[in-house]
Subunit: 358 residues, 2 copies
DNA sequence: ACGGTCGCCTAAACCGGTTTGCTAAACCGG
DNA sequence: CCGGTTTAGCAAACCGGTTTAGGCGACCGT
């Protein structure tokens, strides 16, 4: 018949027990200098004895800050965590957040609705990755007055952003295989999150542009049938390469927009009896840790994934601390081609002539 | 001279603007049935026009729930995200959380203090992975009245837990290599998070026990010099194998407690001119996705990583919803050996005789 | 005309803290 | 002994919502 009144001790309980006011208790925790030393000590002792901890939510409410930053992803976390790229990005984010004493809250569509997830989230600011500008949630966030830093989406002028040189990186990759003599190419790309055609401004579009620029420069074109999209995972790469092959594509080089997909493609090539790089060259993108550890080590376009996460957080924190007066910064990080052993000169002969034999 | 009074519209603003009470506005959002339909519509229109969203923190405070679950890790997120195992585990956690409408908050030591991080965190419950029982934070969490589910630590009776059969899995792995004729073994283990000796109850200890049981059954023993610890990553595996080799160990089989480490070990073996599995067999633990994709595909002990995350969350949610009256459940998931191609019979001869030649 | 329902809406209390005046006592120099 | 300054602590307002307990008028049956 006694349902344990008030599970958790409140500040008033401590105050009563210690024979002081709530204010005193609050001071004992937050501004001990405003209390006689021994009073502060005594209050803390009572609090300890009662097992009292200030309720974090109540504290957030009065202080108007949560000491938490949100990581916003347009895709479900359950799919995004399977991409090693995201793991590395999160490392960077976590590093910067932890060292500044901020917690991390991952925000992804709840029951299909990113908006619903956003309105529940208690964060001081948001790092959004891969969220295209048009996305309605961006508007919602701005209305909520939350600072936001966009990663990998072309920037809106009034919030910070971190980008990489996607076009340049892709172009470098393509130029390299062109230099090796390759002209028959297959592009394996990352499917945009929203099923509704590639977002015109997305990563995929920018990298494709880079590839196309390089080929255009030597008078070649990349047709749509040479571009295969899929999810950014090893299995996605396997599937994409498989589909291309079934469609009759017989490239001498594969340009993948993600290392995970490149690794899948290599594996599927081997499965089909093709040697990498002797018969087919493969280039990835991202330079995830794994890229050096596969066999053969993957030629790929390096981007500073962890640093991207770190800088995004630092940009956000600078806005949080200096108020919105710091005008939004747009930072672009470099990419560079890393040549390893998954690429080689085009072989003089084709084992399986693509057209009529003889 | 007008610093934008009240950045964000409050419920009182909406009430005034719509000419109703705060209560009515609240009802318009939460219990429209208690209002005349057209009143509710009008209020919502006004709210919309003002760009009003209920403040999530205030809402949390009155409803006494945050709709958020915490994932507690004793290590910094910046190190833990580099382990593919954790990515897969998070996938499972995210899947179950998202489908129930819960958000995810990752809790890791802030500036070195897990306790500080915990007291800031606004969550309804906690899934703790790899937190040994003795950890003082467990006590803190209980005092805070937060439900908790422990993953991979031997259970305290009064909260739920998810475990796997570490001992059995390790024993199966060891028995298998014993059956292949191997007697010269190297164990590569996961270094416990806290630098202070292996926790006697941790995963590492349990798996080691399994290995030892199997070898004891054939009258062999695994000496301490045959056990090498390191961080659970590819590089950790490389380093561990390297160190063992420098110490003069010449095993014919390597038992690793993590696939990432096993992959690193394989790579380092190849680096040193040894063939896997012809000259040295390698067994992993976990069966991460990558295990099928390396060359050769890795023989390993499978554990249902994603399901572990899912079930932990479901256990937690059932406590959250049925109150603490549901008595804590302890669930143990199965492990099983998956034989792939990184293991083979011990070769009859040693290329490099370990002792005096001839 | 009257008591009883019902439908719609509100005032006030509450969630659990922090913060802003303010008061009363102690201290201090002259 | 007196006016002024510190010091220690308090009451009350506030953060931004939700929820309880009614109030009030319209409608209804008699």
């Amino acid at each position: 018949m006694d349902p344990v009144r008030s599970q958790r001790p409140r500040i008033a309980d401590v105050a009563r027990e210690a024979g002081v006011s709530k204010t005193a208790v609050s001071f004992a925790f937050n501004r001990p200098d405003r209390l006689a030393p021994e009073t502060a000590t005594r209050i803390r002792a009572v609090a300890d004895h009662l097992g009292y901890r200030p309720h974090p939510v109540a504290r957030m409410l009065t202080q108007r800050q949560t000491m938490t930053i949100g990581v916003l992803t347009p895709q479900a976390l359950s799919v995004i965590f399977s991409n090693p790229f995201f793991g590395a990005f999160s490392e960077g984010v976590a590093l910067a957040a932890e060292e500044s004493g901020y917690g991390l809250h991952f925000i992804s569509p709840l029951q299909g609705s990113l908006a619903r997830a956003m309105s529940r989230a208690t964060v001081d600011g948001v790092v959004a990755i891969g969220l295209s500008d048009g996305h309605p949630e961006v508007e919602q966030i701005r209305q909520a007055g939350l600072p936001i830093v966009m990663v990998d989406s072309s920037a809106l002028p009034d919030h910070g952003s971190i980008e990489i040189d996607d076009v340049g990186g892709a172009r470098a990759a393509a130029e390299y295989v062109i230099g090796l003599g390759h002209r028959d190419i297959l592009v394996i790309g990352v499917e945009p999150p929203a099923p509704g055609g590639p977002d015109p401004d997305g990563v995929t579009a920018r990298r494709l542009l880079g590839y196309r620029q390089a080929f255009a420069a030597v008078g070649a074109a990349i047709g749509d049938e040479q571009v295969m999209l899929g999810p950014a995972s090893i299995d996605g790469g396997i599937a994409a390469l498989g589909r291309a092959w079934e469609n009759g594509q017989r490239p001498t080089a594969v340009l993948a927009m993600s290392d995970a997909m490149a690794i899948g493609a290599m594996q599927e090539l081997r499965e089909r009896g093709l040697e990498v790089p002797a018969e087919v060259s493969v280039v990835g993108f991202d330079d995830i840790d794994l890229a050096t550890h596969v066999d053969p080590p993957l030629t790929t376009v390096h981007q500073p994934i962890r640093r991207k996460g770190e800088e995004a957080v630092r940009l956000l924190l600078s806005v949080l601390e200096h108020g919105a007066r710091a005008k939004p910064e747009h930072r672009r990080l470099e990419t560079r081609l890393i040549v390893r052993r998954s690429t080689g000169p085009v072989s003089g002969h084709r084992r399986v002539p693509p057209e009529r034999p003889g």
